[in-house]
């Protein structure tokens, strides 16, 4: 069995793990309703994509 020859210091471990970072989700603005939207996706609020209505948005119950 291969076994580690030397112990890794905390510093070394932490330096390695400094690269394990998450990137924030990139949102774009919907050109119609100006709400945040994932790029290349249909806007979940107004249901439009590139100016065409893909699905009718849900009506708010008041």
């Amino acid at each position: 069995m291969p076994v580690p020859k030397r112990r890794h210091s905390h510093s070394r471990k932490n330096k390695r793990r400094s690269q394990f970072k998450m990137e924030p989700i990139q949102y774009t603005e919907c050109p119609k309703c100006h709400s945040p939207r994932l790029p290349h996706r249909v806007c979940p609020v107004c249901g439009t994509y590139k100016g065409t209505l893909v699905f009718a948005p849900k009506e708010e119950k008041s």
């Binding site: 994932l38 290349h40 996706r41 249909v42 979940p44 994509y49 893909v54 699905f55």
Partner: protein, 192 residues
């Protein structure tokens, strides 16, 4: 040779995958707009566009080819005579996919797959009535009510019968059990 020809397997065996794609295509030709996961939409598009390509020829051979994938003569007729003529001016790109973002629950990317040339909503409703074995939601309610009234009338006398039968059976069993017990008691008495 199969080199470099890649198919998305969708986590299914061949038969299962084909059945899924056929069902998706069937739904697409009826509703002209369906919502599935992105990988399924992409694979269903391949088959759907292939079928439309055949439907544009509108020959008997083409219809039979389509029938292999959509085993429904009514729908094959619709595809060849209603849907395909709209695409005569196009060289491809019969369908369009919109991405919707991740699904709640499993985070699968959802998409809407639709035909680029659509019929009027009334026509689609008619198609549903013609092909779908189940009726539209409004009609369904009415039918259910009717069925319920019929069923109630039928079921009531039957239940009474079954209950009475059960009773007689139970009584018989009890009688047999009693007889057995009595017999055992008698034996015990004799031994004594």
């Amino acid at each position: 040779m199969r080199h470099g020809k890649k198919i998305k397997k969708l986590g299914r065996k061949k038969a299962h995958r084909l059945a899924l794609l056929r069902n998706l295509c069937r739904a697409l030709f009826i509703f002209e707009k369906i919502k599935t996961t992105l990988p399924k939409a992409k694979e269903a598009r391949r088959l759907a566009e292939h079928l439309i390509e055949y439907a544009k020829k509108n020959t008997v051979a083409a219809k039979r080819f389509i029938y292999r994938f959509i085993p429904d003569h009514k729908l094959v007729k619709i595809v060849c005579e209603e849907i395909a003529p709209k695409f005569m001016n196009r060289q491809g790109g019969y369908t369009r996919i919109f991405r919707l973002g991740p699904r709640l629950g499993d985070g699968a990317e959802m998409a809407i797959l639709e035909l680029t040339e659509k019929s009027e909503p009334e026509k689609i409703d008619l198609r549903r009535k013609l092909i779908e074995r189940r009726a539209l939601p409004e009609e369904k309610k009415v039918e259910k009510k009717k069925e319920k009234t019929k069923k109630e009338k039928k079921e009531k006398p039957q239940e009474v019968k079954s209950k009475s039968e059960k009773k007689t059976k139970n009584e018989k069993k009890k009688n047999i059990a009693k007889k057995d017990k009595e017999g055992k008691k008698q034996k015990k008495v004799r031994k004594k």
